[in-house]
Amino acid sequence: MNKKMVCVACPIGCPLEVEVNEKGEAISITGNTCKRGETYARSEITNPTRSLTTTVKLLGGKNPVVPVKSTSPFPKGRMLEAMKVINKTQLKAPVHIGEVAVKNILDTGIDIVVTNNDTGR
């Protein structure tokens, strides 16, 4: 079976065609212009993931929230579940890029880390 998809690993968005066997494994991947496209296609067929970005509450900061992201692509189907945890989290200024906001979220082994600096008011 052939599956068509768009690689979202980078903004170029190459159109991919993936040949899938009965076991649901990718046998051949075409259309990608770099290696990441291949990795993307494989994961999209078995366990689709996306980078998760949002904000968490920040006490005493210049802004009342600070942006965060998942340290690696996050299982697509569990994003809203993760949002519930993140929205309950609160950090205190100062915060810096890379600081962990939520460790090992939903036992995925993925951390949620801060993506901007806020030195506080």
Partner: protein
Amino acid sequence: MDRYDLVVIGGGPAGMAAALKAKECGVKKIVVLERAQTLGGILEQCIHAGFGLHYFGEELTGPEYAARFISLIEKTDIEVKTDTMALNISEDKTVTAVNTKDGLLEIRAKAIVLAMGCRERPRGALSIAGTRPSGIMTAGQAQAFVNITGYMTGKTVVILGSGDIGLIMARRMTLEGAKVKMVCELMPYSGGLTRNIVQCLDDFDIPLRLNCTVVETHGKERLEGVTIQYVDQNMKPIPGTREYVQCDTLLLSVGLIPENELSKDIGIELDAVTGGPKVDQTRQTEREGVFACGNVLQVHDLVDYVTEESMIAGRSAADYILGKSSRDAEFIETITGEGVRYIVPQRINIKSDEDIKLYFRVGAIYTNARVIVTIDNKEVYNKRKVKLAPGEMENVKITTDMMKEMNKDSKLEIRIKI
């Protein structure tokens, strides 16, 4: 009157890259004027990932991309004036600006880089009938509310226009618990990147309605709903396709306009299609010593390209200040052929001793079309493209070898062949 070698207007990704490059090339006194409280520009509210893959070789969020440049600037003696609004540029390259600390500033510069970015097309520029309740705003305003002040702007959302910010906000509002009912796009195709359609709409089952627009807004104090309607090929509403959609928020993502009030002040001619100044390959405008880069020049879809372009402008400004600009010059205009909406740079110096990248956008969606470059009707480049879309900027390289074949009357054209 203060004297500087270089004044950079705008401290977003364009201004920061231009200033840094100029510094690296040996310019001494540089000042960056930024209207907001911090450097970073629009990147500060673009908390999603997808930045930096080309330039840094890794995927960063907007604030992270900006932070890398901010920390580089902090390591130099480039002066930064935030909360500072540039008001005017005069013929002799004096920039008038104002802030609460210095009051009125008059800065005489040897060169100026325009890096003011762009703004969103407001609702006023669109004619939608109906009431004017609250709950109608541009996608970028909503983005600032949600991502910077942590304030959710509504619970049920309709988005008009499928530009990237609109698509990104569809996902953002959904993640924060809002119900995004649909994205309406007047054109038969989306103006955003395909990847954003996939990961911002398809992932959350948000419908994208093409050839469809909002014709009326309803509600007294707060928006209560909108009427949508499909349009035909001539953009005329099709009778009998009106539909009422309940929503408390309408986000507009209907295009970006380069902010060129300052450029107009000094009489710089703007390209009618890009809305930005006309430039040559060094990104110099028609005013000597005034350069432009980033979204003020042409609206980009990738910040990485903004950085690339701004480094060209920064380097050229340095050459100009240090008297290293090439004196050997012969200009020709680039010609937009069939299917091509615009080309930047609009003119090139064919005496250049470096290859030149021409950036362009097509006017419609093409599959398996060819990008063809001709010099005096002779093909010098012909490449098949699986896909070409108005939302995705393309580029071709004009080599020095090609330029050797040209003279001041040569015609350099890019066109699309189906």
